[in-house]
Subunit: 479 residues, 2 copies
């Protein structure tokens, strides 16, 4: 069941007002990782809460307590839990979004002030921090609510909301908040939720809408090597002691091959090979090697085969070497033998991998390799953090509803994608509620979410709002 | 010919005043690498110049011009050229020292204020920045001058001085200054110099005085790998692109083995093996594996054979991996794929190696290894700086004089050592004057020259002053 024509018309005729409201949201510098901006994050939460209330949503602000950051004890911005409608005849959709943003300074390389939404009439871009991540999508939902309220038509589903202000800084306190709300059962606001919709990722390209059904997990490690009691001078000590850097670099060189293969035995093997049907999914994706090389800013794709590259990102684990803590990292030429170095690397995981399953392989391999060196230095493998991967059933009515909505608005079949990164709250919802979770991106691959000159295309905001509304109608009509 | 008894007595009876003067020098924060302290370096130069003049030394301050540092154009501290005596019947000794120091902050881990000389009565340590590097040795020469002036006895040799204030920051302008002075021939102040004495290094241990006849050279490189146009997110790009870090770590792992062997073909081979006589020199050195492990602060010596470790430091090249510029180096767990990384390493050189001779081997090897990766990234090998190694003839009368002086004062035969590091001015004097250069250390191995709690033992300062004076008498008496 498509959305009523009046809904789509309302969205079109109120587009400028929607963009103005997005400008109001972008103007609030809700940077969650900057202690000096914490008050702005809270202001943003209150602004959003006020908008929801005005549009008829009942809300409660959940106090997530305090945390330590940058040497200060800071109040966490509230989680906003909301509800609209309790008709037992209707399905109930839980919507998630985050109202905090990444840091942004004009001097980082922004062409315009990051916190003033600029409408570029030529390109149709709405440029500003948070435009696509994640204020644009959140305001898409507000647009849907406003249209229904002002048109005087009932929402096709019951809606529940969960908005947070700490996503860009570890989502402190959110998991517990969700789990507690779920635990309340009938007394909780998440009771009866039939599915979840999260709009906080991006199309695979700039042309074709996408539905996302998978996320990679991660396990992040540091190989710590110690030996000398303090940093040494390479003139005085070169070729007299076991240098921690020599051991570390040799160990790090044994983790991943230049073709991307993971050299730790047992990791790549853990993932079953794709079948013919899955291969077709990748072949069908609207994607080229040019797309990835444009996104990467260099002609460095690991393969000239689009399916190889796409599977490398979506359905294979990957191992990246991030850097070394404790070594000389500045400009110049310091002749130091660092005494204590930590080599950082992480493995992106896909089902059936989990951090728990792969950690023993990592430890056993590194310990065996290090033993071969006969080094007098000490090695310790530190597991810094991790998260499980996630894959959803794309044949579920939740995905079917989104597919129909995209086809109705964009006249295109969506790409079915898996993200290479992680959105931890996805797993929290999937596991605590036990329902299907859909990732329904609004923006495009080139939006520059965490980068300079972040933008959301006007058409993605406006047509994307129609997709969100239509999706609710399709969910409402699902058997 | 030993120094007159009256000289040695003067040194003993004036020890406290000498230490007080060292305190005056330490109190001037002449940190040459800190733009905010540049004026203090100049103040220190003027202080030293005043001392020299008072002790009868004719001086000229050579303006070395300006340089760019920390975004500012800064006046270079002057070189101080001095002369005392022009008796054609006497030998002429050129003395070098530097009046600038390394940075020091109490918060670095100093137990006392770094710029207040503390006399620890229990240990006999004189603790303060510059106490051993290199204000102590410079003031040793002032002590010698003062004794002669106040005792009314003539110096046994003509003396020339060359003091600089930029040694800890690249000796900017000094080479040119020395070469110009030499070029002036009869009109220059270095005319007729018979030998050079530099006191700016350390004993091999804490027990036995040393004479140093060799220094390693250095060639410092950065392997620069580029590919993506900007840093990438490992979730989005892991296993889709050639990661610069993967290539860099693999290349760096091929440079040096965990036993210290240099893996670049042609480098280790360039050095002729030692003969029996040389081996005996190393066996005789007052040195143990415990000494090196105590100095390194950990049980990490590459061998349990003292001769192997000593030769590794003194007569073999070494390769150290210093760190990576452009990679993630902070605390924490950032999931970045760095776009542009520079792996820093340097090779310490011994004769007949020179930077010019080894660079082609380094380039050819790295290029061949990188070609094997079939990487789409770009590699560039950057040669950052270098210097030749140096070895002197220990049978020269200059060394013999110093040996006799040490035997007279310390009643011990000195260790004949080669330093693993470099003191570039040594080579400048040796090459421009064509005379024998002697390195005559005053301090001990554990002085902590560039470290926290730098010290000079009182006995090294006072007995060391006697050694400097006696050395001049032995030079004067040399055939
Ligand atoms: Zn986001
Ligand atoms: Zn984000
Ligand atoms: Zn020095
Ligand atoms: Zn120094």
């Amino acid at each position: 069941m498509p959305a009523p024509t009046s809904f789509n018309n309302y969205i079109d005729t109120h587009a400028d007002a929607f963009i103005k409201r997005l400008g109001d949201a972008v103007a609030i510098q809700s940077i969650s990782s900057d202690a000096l901006r914490r008050q702005d994050v809270i202001v943003m939460g209150n602004w959003l809460n006020g908008q929801l209330n005005e549009l008829g949503v009942e809300t409660k602000l959940v106090d997530l307590g305090t945390h330590e950051m940058q040497g200060q004890t800071l109040q966490l911005p509230p989680a906003i839990i909301g509800r609209l409608g309790s008709d037992p005849a209707k399905k109930t959709v839980l919507i998630y979004g985050h109202y905090d943003v990444q840091p942004a300074l004009k001097t980082d390389g922004w062409k315009t002030d990051p916190f003033t939404l600029v409408v570029d009439e030529d390109s149709g871009r709405l440029i500003g921090r948070g435009s696509t991540d994640d204020k644009g999508p959140i305001l898409g939902w507000l647009n849907v609510l406003e249209a229904h309220k002002n048109l005087g038509i009932a929402m096709p589903v019951n809606v529940r909301f969960c908005f947070e202000g700490m996503e860009e800084n570890g989502s402190e306190g959110l998991d517990e908040c969700i789990q507690e709300e779920v635990k309340k059962g009938k007394d909780g606001w998440f009771d009866g939720v039939d599915c979840v919709c999260i709009s906080d990722n991006y199309w695979l390209n700039t042309r074709t809408p996408a539905l996302t059904y998978g996320l990679r997990g991660i396990a992040y490690f540091s190989i710590n090597i110690t030996g000398p009691g303090q940093d040494l001078h390479s003139g005085l000590f070169g070729r007299t002691v076991h240098e921690p850097m020599t051991d570390l670099i040799k160990l790090m060189s044994k983790l991943v091959d230049h073709n991307g293969d993971i050299l730790i035995p047992g990791i790549d093997d853990m993932v079953p090979p794709h079948d013919e049907e899955e291969l077709k999914l990748y072949q069908k994706m609207d994607y080229t090697i040019d797309d990835i090389e444009e996104a990467a800013g260099g002609k460095v794709a690991l393969s000239s085969e689009k399916t190889t590259v796409l599977m490398g990102r979506m359905r294979q684990p990957s191992l990246s070497l991030h850097g070394i803590e404790g070594a000389f990292s500045a400009v110049g030429a310091k002749t130091v033998i660092p005494a204590k170095v930590g080599g950082k690397f992480s493995i992106r995981l896909v089902p059936p991998q989990t951090p728990e399953k792969i950690i023993p392989f990592v430890n056993a391999y590194l310990e065996a390799e290090f033993a071969k060196f006969n080094s007098k230095n000490k090695m310790e493998i530190e597991y810094l953090h991790g998260g499980k991967p996630w894959v959803a059933d794309v044949k579920h009515w939740n995905f079917e509803a989104a597919k129909k909505a995209i086809e109705a608005v964009y006249k295109k079949t969506p790409d079915y994608t898996r993200e290479g990164g992680s959105i931890p709250v996805t797993l929290t919802f999937a596991e605590s509620l036990g329902v299907n979770v859909l990732l329904l991106p609004m923006g495009r691959a080139d939006d520059g979410a965490h980068s300079t000159n972040e933008k959301l295309d006007r058409s993605n905001f406006i047509e994307g709002t129609k997709v969100l509304g239509t999706y609710l109608y399709e969910v409402g009509a699902a058997a």
